[in-house]
């Protein structure tokens, strides 16, 4: 079985170094772990990982790629909540959002809690994180991860993300909008991701994503920062969604997405017959051939004043 032709033809014109991209998709994705400093110091935790062959992730000092065959879920250090298996690209949005201790933060689609627990670490268990997920079935795994990692600054809510804007306007200092998406970027980890792939699904998701982003932007205080991210390549779910917000909110301003050691490609400013906001070049596309990760899209948006 091959990748759908429609998929290949669709993305060949916009993905740089396309052959390398396809080649990277064929390489197995190694497990990456994040050290949980809520439960131990970095050096203490590393001392437990004596039989791991670890390769540091260049842009995050608490993340390591495991080069040997270790099933992390069977391990004592996992049981103790000292390590969390999380794809390296999925660690980027919280790092770009950069939540500070004592701030109020919203994670609008939080389950299963990978990014929530990472933000709790960055905030040193202070301030407040509202970890929301609209899917009740996903709340229990989220709570289990919060308990295992020892987060004391998180409350869990089960609301439709689209409604949070009206329920909590101008409440948060930072908002993470890591939305449900068509999962195209996860094909290295889970090749099933493309089984239900269709353009109609992409269009359906993009409508939900726009509603979530608009709602999330309303929850943001003036001066606050929002990060929008997906694990998909589809411009309809990425640049088109962010462009939709920018065109309707003069106080929304894109900021560059940069992490030392991370290779990124600029966001698109046009796709087929659509033209996007010119600032979208400041958004970042993450491709597997550049950082040995999944594909990701990340945009950082600042709210300039209180007109919204």
């Amino acid at each position: 079985m091959q990748l759908p032709d429609k998929f290949l033809n669709r993305y060949k014109p916009i993905i740089p170094d396309f052959d390398q991209f396809i080649e990277a998709l064929n390489r197995p994705l190694k497990t990456v772990i994040r050290l949980n400093t809520l439960k131990g110091e970095k050096e203490e935790i590393l001392s437990l990982l004596f039989d791991y062959q670890l390769e540091p992730i260049p842009w995050y000092p608490l993340a390591y790629r495991i080069k040997n065959d270790i099933h992390i879920g069977n391990r004592l250090e996992h049981f103790l909540g000292l390590v969390y298996a999380q794809e390296a690209a999925s660690m980027i949005p919280p790092l770009i959002l950069d939540p500070k201790p004592q701030e109020k933060v919203l994670d609008i689609a939080a389950a299963p809690g990978s990014k929530t627990t990472q933000m709790a670490c960055l905030m040193k268990n202070t301030g407040l994180i509202v970890a929301n997920d609209s899917n009740r079935k996903r709340i229990q795994p989220l709570i289990a991860n919060l308990d295992r990692l020892g987060t004391l600054n998180v409350v869990v809510t089960n609301k439709k993300g689209e409604r949070l804007g009206e329920l909590m306007p101008k409440f948060f200092d930072r908002v993470l909008v890591d939305v449900p998406c068509s999962l195209e970027g996860m094909v290295r980890k889970n090749t099933d991701a493309l089984i239900r792939w269709s353009e109609s699904n992409i269009i359906r998701l993009s409508m939900l994503q726009k509603a979530l982003l608009v709602s999330a932007f309303r929850t943001l205080k003036p001066g606050g920062v929002l990060v929008y991210s997906t694990c998909t390549i589809a411009p309809e779910e990425n640049e088109a969604v962010v462009s939709f917000l920018l065109e309707r909110n003069e106080n929304a301003q894109l900021e560059p997405v940069k992490l030392p050691g991370l290779i990124t490609r600029p966001g698109l400013t046009q796709w087929h017959r659509s033209r996007f906001h010119p600032d979208l070049v400041k958004a970042a596309r993450i491709y597997p051939q550049d950082n040995d990760t999944e594909s990701f899209f990340i945009a950082k948006i600042k709210k300039l004043n209180s007109n919204v």
Binding site: L80, D147, N190
Partner: protein, 157 residues
Amino acid sequence: MSEQSIEYLKTNFGINPDIFEELAILKIGNEVYIMNKDAISFKQLKTCHRGIKLAQLFSHSIRLSTGAVQLFGKFATKNTIQLNYAEAIMFAQGKEIIPRNKPIPNIDGLVIAQYKQFPIGIGNYKEGKLKSMITRSQVLRFGWRKRKTKYKGALPL
């Protein structure tokens, strides 16, 4: 009533209540949760969960949650037992073990089992045997494997 758990930690494990000064306790039914003060004062939306579970209250006893023991157990000054790696694995699996070390102090009763500086959970030490009290739903299970895929073929090169 919720302070019962903090008192329990002090009496049984010598954990200084001052470490909880910046935290808040919330009792819901017979379960006790611990969180920071921002989390307990959040009233804007109905919540499903706050902080982490600290303990479950029974009519004559308290059962500390494994998550709370792993987070606060490092402050214990008594009734702890040091396990080696093999013992720690078996303890985390919920088994009864005969540990090489004895608890400090060396008396029977509930102890916090530790591997190096990391608390694992509560066990009941009696006559040289240590019974893990980690609940069945939380024990360390072997057999976790990477997800199998339905997508059989290679991707095009």
